[in-house]
């Protein structure tokens, strides 16, 4: 049965992922139909590119460090102490991740800039902008965006470490420090390596923050340079493609590195007998320091940007700032009244994301199940193709898809339809489901399946009764992630949106770039409310179905 699924999957992924990238790479080495390997070489060594590449690598490194520092204590609190009972915390800490980075950066800019919201409230803090509008400021904003991602990986890894192991260590006389060093950390390494790699790659391919905040301080990054070549005059797809090829190379190198680390350090910890999580009552010291940390982190990661976003959406006349009588709901009224364009944008984003997320959940789960524990080149290729989009900056994929689907539009007229946008979403975010489901499969002990077999279950029965229920959590998490990200996705939406359509992100960006910032911010508030609502509903549902 698996064999039969492998071939259709391979073909599907080839069309979805491999062909567009191949088209792009081919395009990057040809100029007006002629092969120009020399051009690639010049782009490799141009000093401008080198600086932006170095900036991006530096940024990726620091964001991994800072987001680890932010996430580690929290992961510990939420998995090993009584704080784990406050499940709402896990949801609240998803908000920074759900906030579109370009909006969060705008919030921070409006908060800290000269005569910004902060110095209007506390005039003594004037001059703070010289500390914020620096490289450190970008690292801070991006780490505050990506630490929930890191948190998720660290927390899951910590929860899967059975307390039995720790207790065994303690009984045998190991000190707490020794247990951390020899037990917890080695067991965490595999999960952490994946998290760190993803945060690193995400930072490298992130466009929103470098474009808003980086521009202010005059720093150019990988993605801003690719974007500049791809969507500013003079348009140079070849140049964009060449830079992208370098970026792909870097990402794949790190991916191999992570793979090696994880392979050497992964242990099957799920499905052992009697694994239970006991949560001791917190001591006063843990309670106080825990709450202090959580509240501080909430203020910085959610409080400040949202204060700024909400205030901006309420201010009537921008020039007067925070001042009594200068507040109104007119931006919201406008959002829902002017030819209902705002409403249309919300509805478009809603159903496009729902369709893309559903397709991604189905396809991603099939890929993970088909390739799990399989050796052989076709399985490896399927997995690599499915995960490749995560290694690539979104703009690279989207431009490749644009060119490819235009080339074949005579036979498959998908371009300039909503199907094209759905496909772009699907390709870009397919890796989430594959990873969530794959993660569960990796940690699942084979004993469960073997037990099923021993009791005479057929292959299909084992799948239906053991495998699917176990991985369903992963499928749902994949759906949720894909939906949330698609809902506010910017790159594909602004490039392959069919003529005459508007989505949440294109609406916001247009208002930021050409219209009214207040209107854009009010849309941002509505967007986050919508995604949070979906998240809450699904979370309620997961609780019911989880084992």
């Amino acid at each position: 049965m698996r064999k039969s699924l492998a071939i259709p999957l391979l073909i599907l992924l080839a069309v979805m992922v491999a062909f567009p990238i191949a088209t792009l790479v081919f395009r990057s080495f040809t100029f007006e139909g002629q092969l120009q390997s020399g051009l690639a070489a010049t782009s490799l060594i141009s000093s401008e590119s080198r600086i932006s590449i170095l900036n991006s690598l530096k940024l990726g490194f620091w964001v991994v460090i800072v987001s680890t520092l932010l996430a580690y204590p929290l992961a510990h609190l939420l998995s090993k102490t009584a704080f784990a009972r406050h499940t709402w915390l896990s949801i609240v800490f998803l908000i920074p991740f759900m906030t579109p980075p370009y909006i969060a950066s705008m919030g921070w800019i409006l908060f800290t800039q000269k005569r910004g919201l902060l110095s209007q409230m506390i005039p003594a803090l004037q001059g703070v902008e010289q500390y914020f509008f620096t490289f450190g400021g970008i690292v801070l904003v991006m780490s505050l965006h990506s630490f929930p991602f890191m948190l998720n990986f660290l927390k899951n890894a910590m929860m899967n470490i059975s307390p039995n192991l720790d207790e065994a260590g303690a009984i045998l006389g190991a000190s707490r420090a020794y247990r951390t060093r020899r037990l917890t950390l080695p067991l965490l390494t595999s999960g952490y390596a994946i998290g760190a790699l993803l945060v690193f790659v995400k930072t490298l391919s992130e466009y929103g923050t470098p474009a808003t905040l980086g521009l202010r301080i005059g720093m150019e990054f990988f993605t801003t340079q690719i974007h500049r070549k791809a969507s500013f005059m003079p348009v140079d797809f070849g140049g964009a493609a060449r830079l992208s090829t370098i970026l792909v190379g870097i990402c794949i190198t790190f991916w191999f590195l992570q793979n090696t680390i994880s392979n050497h350090t992964s242990y099957a910890t799920l499905g052992q007998k009697g694994s239970r999580n006991q949560l001791s009552k917190n001591s006063l010291r843990v309670s106080i320091s825990g709450w202090t940390y959580i509240i501080l982190l909430l203020i910085v990661s959610i409080g400040i940007p949202y204060f700024s976003i909400i205030m901006t959406s309420l201010i009537k006349i921008r020039g007067y700032g925070l001042r009594a009588g200068n507040y109104s709901l007119q931006a919201y009224q406008k959002l829902f009244s002017i030819e209902t364009e705002g409403l249309r944008a919300l509805w478009n984003s809603f159903y496009l994301s729902a369709i893309a997320a559903t397709l991604a959940a189905i396809l991603g789960t099939s890929i993970a199940l088909t390739t799990h524990n399989k050796k052989g080149n076709s399985y490896k290729t399927i997995q690599a193709l499915g995960l490749l989009p995560e290694m690539l900056p979104n703009i690279v994929l989207v431009i490749g898809m644009m060119i490819f689907w235009n080339l074949i539009s005579r036979w498959i007229p998908l371009y300039n339809t909503q199907g094209m946008l759905i496909l772009a979403y699907l390709v870009m975010f397919l890796p989430y489901t594959i990873q969530y489901v794959g993660g569960i499969l990796t940690q699942m002990n084979n004993h469960l399946i073997q037990a099923g077999r021993v009791f005479g279950a057929t292959d299909f029965y084992v799948k239906r009764k053991i495998l699917l229920p176990l991985v369903f959590r992963g499928t749902l998490a994949g759906w949720m992630m894909t939906f949330i990200i698609c809902f506010r996705e910017l790159v594909a939406s602004s490039l392959v949106l069919p003529v005459g359509y508007v989505t949440v992100s294109t609406y916001i960006l247009r208002e930021f770039e050409q219209g009214s910032v207040s209107l854009g911010m009010s849309m941002a508030v509505i967007c986050v409310l919508c995604t949070t609502l979906v998240l809450l509903v699904l979370n309620q549902y997961t609780k019911k179905v989880s084992l």
């Binding site: 800039q113 910004g116 005059g218 006349i317 020039g319 369709i355 644009m402 909503q418 003529v499 050409q514």
Partner: protein
Amino acid sequence: MNKKLIVLATLLALTCSLVFAQATTEQVPTAKANTEPTLSGKVVVYCPSPNSLANKIQAGFEAKTGVKVEMFQGTTGKINARLEAEKANPIADVVILASWSDGLKLIDQAMPYDAKGLDTMNKGWVDPQHKLYGYSASAIGVIYNTLMYPTLSADWSELGSAQYADDICMPDPLSSGSCKDFITGFINANGENGWKIIEDWKNDGLTIPGANAAALEAVMTGAKGILISGVDYNAYAKIQSGEPIGLYYPKGGTVINPRPAFILKTANNLDNAKAYMDYLLSDEVQKMIYEEYLLPGRSDIVASTRANVSDINTANYDWNWMAQNSDSIMNRFTTLMGR
């Protein structure tokens, strides 16, 4: 378990029904346009901001002709990226850009057409082959925060002096076509002296907050006091809504930037595209244009909402020179700004 299967099946069914529902509503009747003046079908237009003007023109044209307007709105760069990607499969019929020099770069893709109202156009706002029509225009000015500077009339060179240090900003010429045209026009008119002035601005702490609206936002909120090279229609609209900002055109002369509209050679709906071009030059649209604080393209239309072409002192520049040299000037500019 069964529950889960049901949920999955429902989601799948929902997905399919949505896809099909969309597919059926998508089908626009594409009757062939005949030689008679009655039009039908659609016209695909790629155009820049302002959004409100684009929407008004769309609604007006649909009401007048019954032709459906499918519109993509984006910056010049995004429009260009689409055109580039769609080369194998052209979709757009009419393209409108925010910068005349960008129009000149695409002139080979444009089709000549003698639109109704051709002879009423401002001098030089149609190219000699009658391909590009500057149906509207924006001018570049200096925009300042009146809470910080009650009055201001400094010339370009004076804006680089120490008294405005760290208080000046400019839109990103890479995303603002009008700002790019201003810089190339400014260099065209002033040569090396122009570069010296830009260097002074840079040494005076010139920052680039983003595209036009972002730069204007910086001045409105007071993060910066003065916006060099601001697009005037944005400022007029904000002044109208009560923002504490002012606008003037410096003595040294500025750039008026006609916004070119043209029919693509590859247009699939040619008759509709021609009717759309005629409509852009009609009294109706020309009035909409100045109601949105842009300059009308026709010389016989006087804008009551803003300064007219005759009121604005322009520098001495040549569009052909600017189109040829804009890439190298932008390179020098970005290097100068240390990006």
